[in-house]
Amino acid sequence: MAGFFVGAYEHPARLATDKSAPMLHAEVAAGALADAALTLADVDGYFCAGDSPGVGPLSIVEYLGINPRYVDSTDIGGSSPVLHVAKAAQAIEMGLCDVALVTLAGRPRAEGDRPGGQVQLTTFPENEFELPYGPYLAASYALAARRHMHEYGTTSEQLAWIKVAISQHAQHNPHARLPKPVTVEEVLASPMVADPLHRLDCCVISDGGGAVVLAREEIARSLKRPLVKLRGAGHAIGYQRGFEMDITRTAGIASGQAAYAQAGLTPADIQYLSTYDSFTVTVLFAIEDLGFCAKGEGGRFVADNGLLSGVGRLPVNTDGGGLCSNHPAHRGGMTKVIETVRQLRGEAHPAVQVPNCTLAMSHGTGGVLGQRHGCATAILERVA
């Protein structure tokens, strides 16, 4: 792949009362371009998802004043930025652009969104058969978690270990919304939201966002930043086909296999994983579906600090993830990519930095686990 990550920036805000969403898009764009030592005038490819203000990319392209010769606003939910970096690398490889900017920003917290809020339009074909039952976002994840427990004996304690490890990472992130480490007991003692998920099984609501810049190799080599390239990627859409119900498997199986195949790698090669953590169970399913352990073994894999950097077998979400640090615009895909880039550059916090990290993965589960969802997987590599 010809796409190199030359800039990455996460907005420090977690509450942006005095800034609009377009302003946040502009600030993360400026941050990522400054990190790359490039400017808006260099950008000739632009990527955002359907949540960005305006129709597709139209309004933000105008707001930023850029002149892209290639745009894409594919939306597969919160995992979209993981898909966008793959599309950006493909566009660069095809000569459709040289410098691709991907932004994500939003301010759901400032706008008063409450936990479980779910905005849907009446034009969705499933709505009249689902919404009348009062769907609550956490309930969908709870239904998937319950079925996993039924089939594989997974426990609430095991799910809690996911939060515990990520909270240990979050204490080193000065911008984390929840920087205090928690214990398994504290997770289990937090109020039940939708059995078997507790409040501390759920991610934070936060404002802000982030951006990354990809460029072709010649440009990347002319800049001063460590060289990180996209090695392989895949995406897939998952849904229940109306009959053959299995809510314990996600589209991550297909997106992961596609990414491994393109990269010529296996799960054993991956030294660090940034994975979508809208809920603890989202992490559990991803670890299984990406092949880090067999289906049904995820509970044992994550228990006893299995995901803690320096301790566990697979360091996950060393920035504190969405569970403790940031889930801007209700979408965790961008922050997953940014922490992956930090790890490969050796710029994660020293307490959580994976030694000699050269191969790492970003994975997103957008939409709703157990219902229709979009998974995107990207394998990134540090190169000389």
Partner: protein, 128 residues
């Protein structure tokens, strides 16, 4: 939070809601490949064929369930696998939520939605 705006129903689903108003549960079956599915669609999600309504016996088992405990009253969304094959989302009613288990036998009942008063298929534990 989730809000309806305007008429929530698609015209091709009118028959479903008219049946529900008469306490009958309909599912869709493909005329071509003969597989049933849920949620109901005009074209088969397996083969693209045309579909027709048929009445479900309204019996099945719990595939998964949860009790939502935020808000004024707890409620119990559940996936129910109908004996005809498809699995549908609904809620459990008129039972002790804390005594439910995956695999429990259930039967359909028709109750008015607390949200907007319209009749909905729901499920309750069943001896068979």
């Amino acid at each position: 939070m989730t809000e309806f705006a305007g008429d929530p129903n698609f015209p091709e689903n009118r028959e479903y809601w008219e049946a529900v108003a008469h306490e009958r549960l309909l599912i869709k079956r493909c005329v071509s490949c003969e597989k049933p599915h849920y949620y109901p669609r005009a074209y088969c999600p397996f083969c693209g064929g045309e579909t027709q309504w048929e009445e479900s016996k309204g019996k099945g088992e719990i595939y998964s369930y949860t009790v939502v405990r935020v808000g004024a009253e707890p409620y119990c969304p559940a996936y129910v696998t109908l004996d005809e094959g498809p699995t549908m989302i609904a809620v459990m009613v008129e039972c002790d939520f804390d005594r439910l288990a995956v695999g429990d036998r259930v039967r359909v009942v028709f109750r008015r939605s607390a949200r907007d008063g319209r009749m909905l298929p729901m499920f309750t534990p069943s001896a068979d």
